[in-house]
Structure formats: structure tokens, C-alpha cells
């Protein structure tokens, strides 16, 4: 190979790499548009006025006269604020209760010694394989028989344990060196003080992740609330949006509908943008959708 040839080869491979790079970015941008477009469209539609929207046979991709009218209507014509409040209560109470339940359970499995631990734990693990669809039928009957339909309690109770999160937390607790526990014991630290003063502070990152994942799950839950509530006063946002679609705003007021959709989606998107790293790490470590 002489100098000339080397240069030609260099140039060719450079061009090929550039081309590949451009194609790669084009493709990635295309997918990003595909993901973002529905979000753009819902925001756009939500600020178009009702008459403007209906007069566009070919929908415009932007609007020069944005209006907040739809948002006002979303909160006045349907009880959106009520749905919001219900969801907030449901999400906060369920998440808080679950955290308490799973922290104690994970602590028992990770640090305490008791008879039958192995058996109880393997029973826990086998429950992880049970799909929600199998148990929801009886739970529906149970809650109905307890007269807890259309109550917060009925909504919350079946969701306050998660075998999976107990497992995740137990693994995390076990990573704390055993010496810390021994050191604490020599100092006369009680188990509970050790849990609250040492384990929980050290495991804070995992606890935050689990909390966020549970909040997302609660905020978006649809099936159970749908079964257990038929009184609009206890609807969560998912059921609310379904109700709006079928009965609200006189069927065709799509801009108002989109305003409601924006309002419902916003809290989680904001939460996501704040805790982006934590959420993505948490999901990568073992979250699932649904």
C-alpha cells in the first residue's frame, strides 16, 4: 500500500462512517417524533377553541390564538378536581401504607432470625408468580361483601402489599454489612432502633425508588377502581377520563377532553422529569408495566 491508497481508504471509511451516523440520528429523531407527537397533539388540541377545532377539516399543526377556555371547562363541566383529589388520596395513602408494610416485612426477612423463616419466604416468592387477574375476582366479591364498594378503603386495601417490593427491599437490606448489625447489638441497640436509625437511612435511595414506582402505579391504576367504584364521587382519574370520553362535555368536545388529558398526565410527567434518573434506574432494576 502506498500513501495514496491509504489516503483513499481513509477518506472512504470516513464518508461511510459519516453517512451511517447521519442515518442513525435520522432514525432516532423519527422515533422521538413518534413518541412525542401524541403529547404535542394533546397540548395543541387542548388550547384550540372548540369552534376552531371543529372547523378544521385538515387539522392545523399550530394555533395562533391559544385559549385556556378548555381547561376552565374541564374543571367546571365535569368533576375533574374531584377525580384528582380522589387519586391523590388513593395514591398517597396506598403508597404510605405499603411502604410501612413492606419495610417491616423486608426487615424481618433480611435481619431477624425466626423459626420458619425459609418456608415463609419461599411461600412469599411463589406468590410473585400469581397474576392479579386470578385474585381480583374474589377480591371484588370480598370488598363487595364487606360493603366497601365506593369507599377509599375498598380502593386501597388490596394494593397495600407487594411481594415484589418486599423482595427488592429485602435484597437491599441484606447488602448492608452484617457487622453494622453486630456493632449495634454490642452497643445495645434494639432491633427497631437499628431499623429506623441505620437500615432505613442507608436504604433511602431504594426506598425513594420504590415509592416513586408505586406512585406511578397508583396514579395510573384503572382496572380495580373501575370494578370497585360506580359512584363518580370516588372515581380516580383513569375512570374519570373514561367517563368523560363516554358521557362528558357532550361527546364531541375534543379540545376540552384533551385539556382534561393534559391535566391528568401532567403530574407524572413532572415527577418523571424531576426524578428521571431514579425512576429509570428503578425500572431497570425490576419494574414492570401494569
Amino acid at each position: 500500500m502506498d500513501k495514496q491508497q491509504v489516503q483513499t481508504i481513509e477518506r472512504e471509511s470516513m464518508i461511510r462512517n459519516r453517512l451511517r451516523e447521519v442515518l442513525r440520528y435520522l432514525f432516532l429523531i423519527l422515533w422521538a417524533i413518534l413518541v412525542l407527537f401524541p403529547f404535542y397533539w394533546m397540548i395543541l388540541t387542548s388550547v384550540k377553541s372548540y369552534s376552531a377545532y371543529n372547523s378544521e377539516y385538515v387539522p392545523k399543526f399550530f394555533t395562533l390564538s391559544p385559549t385556556v377556555q378548555n381547561y376552565i371547562q374541564a374543571f367546571t363541566a365535569v368533576p375533574l378536581a374531584r377525580y384528582f383529589f380522589n387519586t391523590l388520596v388513593f395514591t398517597l395513602v396506598t403508597t404510605a401504607l405499603m411502604m410501612i408494610v413492606i419495610i417491616f416485612a423486608a426487615f424481618a426477612f433480611a435481619r431477624l432470625d425466626f423459626k420458619g423463616k425459609d418456608i415463609v419466604f419461599s411461600m412469599f416468592l411463589s406468590l410473585m408468580m400469581i397474576p392479579n387477574e386470578l385474585v381480583i375476582i374474589t377480591n371484588f366479591v370480598t370488598i363487595t361483601n364487606l360493603d366497601l364498594r365506593n369507599t377509599y378503603l375498598g380502593l386501597i386495601l388490596p394494593s397495600v402489599t407487594s411481594v415484589f417490593y418486599i423482595y427488592l427491599l429485602k435484597e437491599n437490606f441484606e447488602q448492608i454489612p452484617e457487622e453494622l448489625y453486630k456493632a449495634a447489638k454490642v452497643d445495645g441497640t434494639s432491633d427497631m432502633r437499628y431499623l429506623f436509625k441505620v437500615m432505613i437511612p442507608i436504604s433511602k435511595p431504594t426506598l425513594v425508588t420504590v415509592t416513586i414506582l408505586k406512585v406511578i402505579e397508583c396514579w395510573n391504576s384503572y382496572v380495580w377502581p373501575r370494578l370497585i367504584t360506580d359512584d363518580k364521587n370516588f372515581f380516580l382519574v383513569s375512570n374519570g377520563i373514561q367517563e368523560i370520553r363516554e358521557n362528558g362535555f357532550g361527546r364531541e368536545n375534543i379540545p376540552a377532553m384533551m385539556a382534561a388529558v393534559v391535566v391528568i398526565s401532567l403530574p407524572l410527567v413532572v415527577l418523571f422529569l424531576i426524578f428521571r434518573k431514579k425512576i429509570m434506574e428503578g425500572v431497570a432494576r425490576g419494574g414492570t408495566k401494569g
Binding site: 432516532l28 422515533w31 422521538a32 413518541v35 412525542l36 401524541p38 403529547f39 397533539w41 394533546m42 372547523s55 378544521e56 377539516y57 385538515v58 387539522p59 408494610v101 413492606i102 416485612a105 426487615f107 431477624l112 425466626f114 415463609v120 406468590l127 397474576p131 387477574e133 386470578l134 385474585v135 381480583i136 375476582i137 374474589t138 377480591n139 371484588f140 366479591v141 370480598t142 402489599t161 411481594v163 432491633d191 406511578i216 396514579w219 384503572y222 382496572v223 373501575r226 382519574v237 377520563i241 373514561q242 375534543i254 384533551m258 388529558v261 391528568i264 398526565s265 407524572l268 410527567v269 415527577l271 418523571f272 422529569l273 428521571r276 429509570m280 425500572v283 431497570a284 414492570t288 408495566k289
Partner: protein, 296 residues
């Protein structure tokens, strides 16, 4: 002794909730499924046997739901996994604004399925005022529009699968990008020095290295797709039977509650049939994986 007590006290809440809302229901669903003619109001039944299963398996709505579910599974699982793999590969090859892309791609994960489903509906739906954005695009490129929401079966199925893929993609991309990031770059360097083509590098190095994760996605993908339900409601409304777009899970809920509800026995039988299907498919998946997946 004191130690035992503390431990059981710690476990008590979890155990109590799991017993009431998981273990007991699990037993109960079997019992329901064999109680013939169970009446929800009087809580009585008149026989024990396989009638509920027989009824469900001959119910045209169930057959339709079964067919829909299988189509969704067969189309969305391979397609979403494949596309996600491709996107993740491209993503792992860039440096500039990669973080931005990852954030954007993950966005659908945190959105309310029901809410965004409405946006998809208006994008695909034909109304008296407008044919909807998608149809207008099709017409712009010389095609003929079709109502994707109330129109022919294949069109509805198309939107269905499209939306399902859109929804499951964030999770898969995330898992695959982190799997790809954990492959030791040393292997790529070695392959490069040996002059391995990029396709061969992918096929012989990358894929085997990330195969456990790919397989994990396939298994969870199957399980998730078999349980499809709320995406359907988001697009076609709660009366899925009328739309002809019901799924097995949808059938279970409809039997339990709603316009055609009040039959927990049928619901239980259908749920157990679903569980049997998922269990079988997962077992087959695991068997295949033992043979093909490369573990470190």
C-alpha cells in the same frame, strides 16, 4: 423467643394482607370456577363440575377475545422486542444528546394509558368534521382513508397493535440499553482489531451477551400482552364486545361486572384458562431459553 415475636410482628401486616387478598382468593377462584350456576345475589349454586369451563369455551365472545389476544401477542411481542433492540443498538452507538433521546423514549412509561389512548383515538378516528390526522396523511400520499376506531377489523387491530407497541417500548428500550451498556467494551475492541464486520459483531458478540435480558423481555412481553386490557379500553371504550376488540382479561372483567356482569364463576373459569395459557407459554419459553440463551 423474644426475637421470634418481633419478627412475626413485623411480618404480621404483610402476611395478613397477603392471606386475605392473595392466598384466599387464589383458592377461592378455583372453587368458583367449579361451582355451576353460581348466583351472586343469593350466593348459592346448584352443582359442581366443568360446566363453567364448557360455557366459556363455547361463548363466541370468549372465542373472539381469545383470537384478539393471540393476534395482539403474536404481532406485538416480536415486533416491539425487535424494534426496541434496534433502537437500543443505535442509541448505544451515539454520544451526542443520547440522554435526551433516552428521556424522550421513556416518557410513555409514566403516562396514563387511558389518557394517552384518547389522543390516539382522535388521531385515528373519522368524525363528521374531520377524517382525523392519520387518514388525511394517508390520503395525502394517495391512499384511501379508513376509520381505524369504528371501521374494519384489521384497521382496529392495526391501531391496537400500534398503540400497544408504543406503550411497551419504553420499558424494553430501557432494559436493553442498560444490558448493552453492561457489555464490556473490551470485546468490541477485540472484534474491531480482528476486522469483524458490524453485523457479525452484533450476531456473535452483542446478542449472546445480552441474550438473558432479551429473553427476560420476551417472557415478560408474552405475559404482559396476554393480559392486555386497559389499552383496548383506552381506544375503543368500555364496551369491547360491541367493538369486537375484547381480550381475555376484558372478558373476565365483563363477566364479573359491567353490562354483562354478575357471573364470577364464568369469570373465574376464564381467568384460569388464561393462567393456564400463560403458564404453558412461559414454560415453553423457559425451555427454549435453556437451550439458546448464553449465560455468563
Amino acid at each position: 423467643m423474644k426475637k421470634n415475636l418481633t419478627a412475626w410482628l413485623c411480618l404480621l401486616p404483610a402476611l395478613a394482607f397477603l392471606l386475605v387478598f392473595m392466598v384466599y382468593p387464589l383458592v377461592d377462584v378455583f372453587i368458583y370456577s367449579f361451582e355451576e350456576g353460581y348466583n351472586f345475589a343469593s350466593q348459592s349454586y346448584f352443582g359442581v363440575g366443568l360446566y363453567n369451563y364448557d360455557y366459556v369455551l363455547h361463548d363466541p365472545y370468549f372465542i373472539q377475545a381469545l383470537k384478539n389476544t393471540f393476534i395482539i401477542v403474536i404481532i406485538t411481542v416480536p415486533l416491539s422486542t425487535g424494534i426496541a433492540l434496534f433502537i437500543s443498538l443505535e442509541l448505544s452507538n451515539i454520544k451526542l444528546i443520547r440522554d435526551f433521546f433516552q428521556t424522550v423514549y421513556f416518557l410513555p412509561y409514566v403516562t396514563n394509558t387511558l389518557a394517552v389512548g384518547l389522543v390516539f383515538m382522535i388521531l385515528f378516528k373519522k368524525t363528521p368534521y374531520s377524517d382525523g390526522l392519520v387518514n388525511i396523511l394517508i390520503q395525502f400520499f394517495g391512499g384511501t382513508g379508513v376509520d381505524f376506531i369504528d371501521g374494519p377489523y384489521w384497521a382496529k387491530m392495526f391501531v391496537m397493535c400500534f398503540y400497544t407497541i408504543w406503550i411497551v417500548m419504553p420499558f424494553k428500550i430501557l432494559i436493553l440499553t442498560s444490558a448493552l451498556a453492561s457489555v464490556n467494551p473490551m470485546y468490541y475492541k477485540a472484534a474491531k482489531v480482528d476486522g469483524t464486520s458490524s453485523f457479525r459483531t452484533f450476531y456473535k458478540i452483542t446478542l449472546p451477551m445480552i441474550s438473558p435480558m432479551v429473553f427476560y423481555l420476551v417472557i415478560t412481553g408474552f405475559i404482559g400482552a396476554f393480559k392486555a386490557y386497559s389499552d383496548e379500553v383506552a381506544l375503543f371504550g368500555t364496551d369491547l364486545n360491541a367493538a369486537g376488540m375484547n381480550t381475555i382479561v376484558g372478558y373476565v372483567y365483563d363477566m364479573l361486572y359491567g353490562n354483562s356482569g354478575g357471573y364470577p364463576s364464568y369469570a373465574s373459569a376464564a381467568a384460569l384458562i388464561l393462567f393456564a395459557i400463560v403458564f404453558t407459554i412461559t414454560t415453553i419459553n423457559l425451555m427454549v431459553s435453556k437451550k439458546t440463551v448464553f449465560y455468563n
